[in-house]
C-alpha cells in the first residue's frame, strides 16, 4: 500500500527530487533489512534441522568420533514408534498437558473475570499475580524442590496444617502417585497468570453495547454469560490453550530441576527422555529421529496456533 503512495508522490515530484527519494530502491532496502534475520535463522535453526533429519537415518553416536556411520533407513523411527516405554513417556506428557491446561484455564478465566469487575487497585494486584510467569522455569523448579521437601518443606507443612496429616507422611517428589501432580501444581502456579492475562484481554474486547442490548432483551445474567461472554472470549482462550499446549509438550527446564524425571520414570516427559537419549546415552542418530517426531508435532500445533493468532488479530 505504502509503496504505491510513494510511487504517486514520486511521479508528482520533479525528477531530481524523485531520484533522491528513491535512492536505494525500496525493494533493495527491504531485502537488506530482512536478509540478516533470515540468514541467522537459516544458520542456527534450519541448517541444524536438516542435519538432524540426515542424522535420524543413521546410527551415529556423537561420543565416538572415529566409528563408522551406517545408513539404517527408517529403523530409528520404527524403533521409537513401537517402543512402549516411549509411549508411556508420551502418556506422562499427556497427563501433564491435560491437567495443567485444565487448571490454568479454570483458575485463569475465573481470575480474569473477577479482575474485570474493575475493583479498586486491580492493576496493582494483577501485576503481583503476573510475577511468577516471568521467572526462570529452571530456578522456579529448583526452589519448589525446597518447598516440597518432606520433613522441612513449607508445602508439606501447609498441607499438614490444613488436613491434620503428618507432614512427613507423604513425599510430593518421591512418591509415584504424587510426583505427576507435583509438577502440575508448580506449572499451574507459574502459568495461570498467562491464561489470565489473555482471558482478560478477551473480556475487555467485548463492547459494552452488546450487554446493554441483552439487558433490554431481558436476558438473564447467566444467559448473557453463556451466549455473549463465553463465545466472545473463546478465540482468546484457544490461543492461550494452544500456546500452553505447545510449551508444555516440550517442557524441560522446570520439570528436570524439580523431579529430574523421577521417581522411576513417572515424570519423565518427552523432552527429558530425549535429553537422556541424546546427551547421556549418546545415541545421536536415534535421538535425532526422536527429535524430528517431536518437532513435526510442535510444528503442526504451531501452524494451528498461528491461525488462531490471526483470528484474534482481526478483532
Amino acid at each position: 500500500m505504502s509503496d504505491r503512495t510513494i510511487d504517486r508522490v514520486a511521479s508528482a515530484t520533479p525528477p531530481p527530487v524523485a531520484r533522491k527519494i528513491r535512492g536505494l530502491s525500496d525493494r533493495a532496502i527491504a531485502w537488506i533489512f530482512v536478509a540478516p534475520t533470515i540468514f541467522l535463522l537459516l544458520a542456527i535453526n534450519i541448517f541444524p534441522l536438516i542435519w538432524t533429519i540426515r542424522l535420524s537415518f543413521t546410527n551415529y553416536k556423537a561420543n565416538r568420533i572415529g566409528r563408522e556411520v551406517k545408513e539404517i533407513g527408517f529403523r530409528n523411527y520404527e524403533r521409537i514408534l513401537t517402543d512402549s516405554d516411549i509411549w508411556l513417556n508420551m502418556q506422562a506428557t499427556a497427563h501433564f498437558l491435560i491437567w495443567t491446561i485444565f487448571f490454568q484455564v479454570l483458575i485463569g478465566f475465573t481470575l480474569a473475570w473477577l479482575i474485570n469487575k474493575k475493583f479498586k487497585g486491580n492493576d496493582l494486584w494483577t501485576t503481583i499475580i503476573v510475577l511468577p510467569m516471568m521467572l526462570s522455569p529452571a530456578v522456579v523448579g529448583n526452589f519448589w524442590k525446597f518447598l516440597y521437601q518432606p520433613q522441612i518443606g513449607l508445602f508439606n507443612y501447609i498441607i499438614a496444617f490444613f488436613t491434620g496429616k503428618e507432614p512427613s507422611s507423604f513425599e510430593m517428589l518421591g512418591q509415584v502417585n504424587l510426583a505427576p501432580w507435583s509438577i502440575v501444581i508448580v506449572d499451574t502456579w507459574m502459568w495461570t497468570p498467562f491464561v489470565m492475562l489473555i482471558c482478560l484481554a478477551g473480556l475487555r474486547s467485548i463492547p459494552d453495547y452488546i450487554y446493554e442490548a441483552a439487558e433490554i432483551d431481558r436476558a438473564s445474567k447467566l444467559r448473557q454469560f453463556f451466549t455473549i461472554t463465553i463465545p466472545m472470549v473463546l478465540p482468546f482462550l484457544m490461543l492461550a490453550v494452544l500456546f500452553r499446549g505447545i510449551e508444555n509438550f516440550k517442557m524441560f527446564d522446570l520439570v528436570v530441576q524439580l523431579t529430574g524425571g523421577g521417581p522411576g520414570s513417572t515424570t519423565e516427559l518427552t523432552s527429558i527422555n530425549l535429553k537422556r537419549e541424546a546427551f547421556e546415552k549418546w545415541r545421536t542418530g536415534y535421538a535425532s529421529a526422536y527429535a524430528i517426531i517431536l518437532f513435526v508435532t510442535v510444528f503442526g500445533l504451531a501452524s494451528i496456533y498461528v491461525k488462531a493468532l490471526n483470528k484474534v488479530k482481526e478483532r
Binding site: M90, A94, G300
Partner: protein
C-alpha cells in the same frame, strides 16, 4: 456441511485448513492416547500428513 464440501471441491482455503487442523489434532491425540499402541505407532505419519497439508492448503485462495 454442504458449503464445507463445496469449498473442498473448489479448493478454497478455509475448509481445507479446517481439514488439515483436524488431521493434526487426530495425530497429536494418537501420539499421546493411553489406549492402543498401534495408534501411537501411526501417529507420526498422520501428524506429518496434516502438517504438510496445512502448509500446502494455506496457499489456496480464500
Amino acid at each position: 456441511m454442504m458449503s464445507f464440501i463445496n469449498g473442498l471441491m473448489r479448493l478454497r482455503r478455509g475448509p481445507w485448513e479446517m481439514l488439515a487442523t483436524i488431521i493434526i489434532a487426530i495425530g497429536v491425540f494418537m501420539l499421546m492416547q493411553p489406549f492402543v499402541i498401534w495408534a501411537f505407532t501411526y501417529s507420526f505419519i498422520v501428524t506429518l500428513t496434516g502438517t504438510v497439508m496445512f502448509i500446502i492448503v494455506s496457499h489456496f485462495p480464500e
